[in-house]
Symmetry: C2
Subunit: 244 residues, 2 copies
Amino acid sequence: MTGTLTVAGLGPGSDALVTPEVTAALAAATDILGYAPYVARVPLREGLMLHPSDNREEIKRATDALRLAAEGRHVVVVSSGDPGVFAMASAVFEALEAAPQWHDLSIRVLPGITAMLAAASRIGAPLGHDFCAINLSDNLKSWGTIEKRLRLAAEADFAIAIYNPRSASRSEGFARALDILKDAGCGERLLIFARAVSTSDETIEAVTVKDARPDMADMKTLVIVANSTTRRAGRWIYAPRSVR
Amino acid sequence: MTGTLTVAGLGPGSDALVTPEVTAALAAATDILGYAPYVARVPLREGLMLHPSDNREEIKRATDALRLAAEGRHVVVVSSGDPGVFAMASAVFEALEAAPQWHDLSIRVLPGITAMLAAASRIGAPLGHDFCAINLSDNLKSWGTIEKRLRLAAEADFAIAIYNPRSASRSEGFARALDILKDAGCGERLLIFARAVSTSDETIEAVTVKDARPDMADMKTLVIVANSTTRRAGRWIYAPRSVR
């Protein structure tokens, strides 16, 4: 009995953004593990075992998934967006590193549309030139690291996709990030708040960094700070291809 | 007669990575424009007009697409990967900015799986922590800008996805990039060469930056320079979620 473990990205919310290979993996699964709201997106069917869990339990979830696969199950761990971007793939490999007995398991990672790509597409092309992605959660790194990266990204004139700008437990971080960006001379850059992209709750709003308020972001928001050359074309916002 | 313009991402190569909304847009199109190898990926059908073009003609292609849409056609401009990442979306909005008469056209951008996400998924999760994406083509920016960004990205300890590391006309840039990374203290970082990901020609190779040779990359290669904390777990490479 040979089990498999698949780490699959469900995209930002709409089923129209789920890749066919992810849809096929879900259809072949015996067990689905993931944060409860993502597990709830998987079509139910007879015999499919759902294992929803809380969002602070990544390593336990990953270990459970590896164990089920080792027992011969066909396990899919679901993430929203792309599983390799601030999501479950790193947790699965972290759990795997600690468990050499499972190193020969059949594992696949299936990419998905990560939030920044979906957000950018709704407003134009703010990631059309060089860019970076920074997770603002300080659960797993120090605020000093976050601040250093924001300052270097501003100096590099990267567009900056900010994941997890706010959570219920952390209301201060995004306010500090805005202050750092203003201090780094980015006050006139455009900043895009993209909330619940591709769902019925979607909202997109663009302001300058100096006019952005911390309460404009919530747990469902992806923020993109445009680079300094980014312009408007009608209702659209885009980064020109050329920079001199 | 109301035309539409859709800028669609075909993903890195496999049809299993094309989103359902892109597949639907292609099925509803009257005209397909794009770089010839990408147009060749679109299923042919009676009455569908194909407009393949060369890869140095982005603005002309974008303007042609806008004009066709203004004439009432249902136009899809295809990119590989994601159209908003070093691809056609920026060119379309650049052409649109210069043509106010077309600002009310119905335009959509449909995201796709960009090369770095597909590449990362095949080797593990090297983009699981903060990262950046840099286009090494110096057609549209100076080498000074590229060098500055590489140095700042190294200092920030971002994983670095390098798009377009080599082309037939530019064999020097990637060699210089490797020298800059070594000079910036990244010699021991892992570097991943991901070629033709998701196609039958796919190859994935990981070495350290100091052991990387310029000729290991070609026009079909996406390079990922891992961050300094990136580790191996069995045959996989991943960025731990936690950095202190």
